[in-house]
């Protein structure tokens, strides 16, 4: 009963005209960046992070969340029609989705992808409503040791899932922690690594770092290649899947939804891992696995459902524990912090309007996406023809304006340009920026909880292994750290490794 009252309260918040507008802007921009290859949700969210300053916390966070799940929807359009993933979670959709389009079945592929995304998104939201308050009540009992170990696990999982060498990913995570610690020490108020610059006393801002590493670096990387687009030009008809399509897709959609939701909750996991896992599962379960790669609708339905369910599931650790499980959620945490809010176990009880409002807006956003993605497919196809030589300079311009507006400080523009150049060379040398950004956000929390646990336990390090939740987290982290040394696990890691920045 309480849940229903809360949901009704949430819809009251989400249906306020201003929040509806922000929700629409979020899902529209999300679909747009999902459709356009080369710009992912991380770049778009980092670009728009300063915009959240102008409105209420609800509006800003509703918009940011809309960009995330909107991009999951939009990404499939480009994958199916152009064979270029609009964002990383849609890589798998290219395999069978584009084959279906080539066989003249672009309509059903787009249709099942949109319906699958909607159904999975709805399931994830219902699960979020039911699971989050319960988990939050458990999380109240978490102490600094549990938080520290959970954050360590989150960072290790992300480094485990990052493409390329794990040593490089771990090095990036360490650099992220160090960057996060620049500025005044929260306990002793001593300035750290500020090099005498007043601008660094408050630390380096999240906005310039993320915009540089993802926005500017992404543009620099894209300018290296001539982006070729092989758009399916045939008229797209019959978007509604047939009865046979539904029959073939129902199982993969259901399995993808559940798998995606749980993978989304796990720290370090997310939509990309979920879509790959779902594709592998469906191929393994299929009686005719040879159809996969040749236009099997199951290969579109499963992963698309999985990535949307994961996008919903990823909100659980952020909302209940205050720990972002991936970079996108780290950006969302940034939006909360900008407004002076700290997501965590107490947020649901202390700020129910915000929590339930965001959840309800996500449901409304899912409905909006269904409307945006099916009848307006022609418009999105036209957008795919937008010339990149005009788009890229404008993205650079918007990042500069965005960074300046977030702090009214030219120094931050310099920081962004520096991180853009660093990010470009990092990517060229095979160092992924995702662990750095997550560690940058978690760094201060990680340090705070480590120091608190040591003070509370009077320097007893066994506090991390005698507390059950902390011990389990650390055990998993150790297994994942040692794992790549074992050939079997190394092979598995290479299979699921992801490029979060894509």
């Amino acid at each position: 009963m309480d849940t229903l009252i809360n949901v009704a309260h949430g819809f009251g918040v989400a249906l306020a005209p201003i929040n509806l507008l922000y929700c629409f802007i979020g899902v529209f921009i999300g679909t747009l960046v999902g459709v356009l290859p080369g710009i992912g949700p991380i770049s778009a969210m980092s670009l728009l992070l300063p915009v959240t300053l102008s409105g209420t916390p609800e509006s800003g966070i509703i918009m940011m969340a809309g960009i995330y799940y909107g991009s999951m929807y939009g990404g499939s359009t480009t994958s199916i029609l152009v064979n270029i993933p609009g964002e990383a979670a849609s890589v798998v959709t290219c395999i069978d989705g584009h084959q279906m389009a080539k066989q003249g079945r672009a309509g059903p592929a787009l249709g099942i992808s949109a319906f699958g995304s909607f159904i999975a998104g709805t399931f994830a939201l219902v699960a979020l409503m039911l699971v989050a308050p319960k988990l939050a009540s458990v999380a109240i009992a978490f102490g600094p040791a549990e938080y520290f170990s959970l954050m360590v696990l989150g960072l290790v999982v992300l480094t485990f899932l990052t493409q390329g060498s794990m040593a490089k990913a771990l090095l990036m995570a360490c650099i992220g922690v160090v960057l996060g610690l620049i500025g005044l020490d929260s306990i002793t108020a001593q300035p750290r690594m500020t090099f005498g610059r007043m601008e660094l006393i408050d630390g380096i801002g999240l906005v310039p770092v993320v915009m540089g590493l993802f926005g500017v670096a992404e543009v620099l990387l894209n300018t290296e290649q001539v982006i070729r687009r092989d758009i399916i030009n045939a008229r797209i008809t019959q978007l509604l899947p047939s009865k046979e399509d539904w029959k073939a897709s129902a199982g993969p959609m259901g399995r993808g939804t559940i798998l995606g939701f749980f993978l989304g909750i796990l720290p370090g996991g997310g939509a990309v891992v979920a879509s790959f896992a779902s594709y592998a599962l469906e191929k393994r379960l299929s009686k005719t696995p040879e159809r996969f790669g040749n236009g099997a609708i199951e290969g579109v339905a499963g992963p698309e459902a999985a990535n949307n369910a994961a996008a919903g599931g990823a909100f659980i650790p952020l909302m209940t524990l205050g720990i972002p499980p991936n970079v996108v959620m780290a950006l969302l945490l940034g939006a909360f912090v900008i407004h002076g809010l700290q997501p965590g176990p107490l947020m649901i009880t202390q700020n129910p309007g915000l929590f339930w409002g965001i959840v309800a807006s996500m449901y409304i956003g899912n409905l909006m996406l269904l409307v945006l993605n099916l009848p307006m497919i022609g418009m999105w196809v036209q957008l795919l023809k937008l010339p990149y030589n005009i788009l890229f300079p404008l993205i650079i311009l918007f990042t500069i304006i965005g960074v300046y507006c977030s702090s009214n400080n030219v120094f931050d523009v310099h920081v962004m340009i520096a991180f853009g150049v660093i990010g470009y060379f990092m990517r060229k040398l095979g160092y992924e920026p995702a662990p750095l950004v997550l560690a940058f956000v978690l760094g201060p929390m990680l340090e705070n909880n480590l120091r608190k646990s040591l003070i509370l336990s009077q320097g007893d390090l066994t506090t991390f292994v005698t507390r059950p939740i902390s011990a389990v987290c650390l055990l998993f982290a150790v297994v994942l750290l040692i794992g790549p040394l074992l050939p079997a696990l190394r092979k598995k890691r290479e299979l699921v490794a992801l490029d979060e920045g894509a």
Partner: protein
């Protein structure tokens, strides 16, 4: 990757340099941690986490260096093979010049040339499109921010904007 692009004991082994930079940063972080005082395990000081993070950085960087020396690694040239490296180099140069110009000349006088240059230099946009877009978009954004949101972008020494 062919043999010529995978080298071990060579100065152009990009993996080796990546590891060395990581090692240098790690040593710097350890020194910074020590300067800030480590404190004790009962009461960790400001440099405690930095010091141990620095040590971890050195360990991971050393792993990268060892792997680069034993397994080899791609050369710098192979990293940019088949890539139009001049394009990002031009964008980086433009951005560096812009970073210095922004404070001195202000937003409008620095962003209009930047946009125009990027449009002409990445994949040349026709002049008749590039000129109006590079004037209208920065000026439009400046107007919107100043009038609608009350945000003052840098006006520079000429006080334009």
């Amino acid at each position: 990757m062919d043999d010529s692009s995978n080298v071990k004991f060579r100065l152009n082994n990009s993996e080796l340099w990546g590891g060395l930079i990581g090692l240098g940063l790690g040593i710097f972080v350890i020194r910074s941690g020590l300067k800030l005082k480590l404190g004790t395990i009962n009461d960790p000081g400001s440099g405690y986490v930095l010091f141990y993070t620095g040590i971890l950085m050195c360990v991971f960087a050393a792993t990268i260096i060892v792997a680069a020396l034993t397994e080899g690694g791609p050369t710098f040239g192979s990293r940019w093979q088949n890539a139009r490296w001049t394009k990002p180099a031009i964008v980086i140069a433009c951005l560096i010049v812009f970073a210095f110009a922004l404070d001195t000349f202000g937003f409008l006088l620095s962003s209009i040339p930047l946009t125009l240059l990027l449009m002409r230099l990445i994949d040349p946009v026709r002049w008749e499109i590039a000129i109006p877009v590079s004037i209208i978009v920065p000026a439009g954004m400046w107007w919107l921010l100043k009038r609608a949101l009350g945000i003052q972008l840098p006006s520079g020494m000429f006080e334009i904007g």
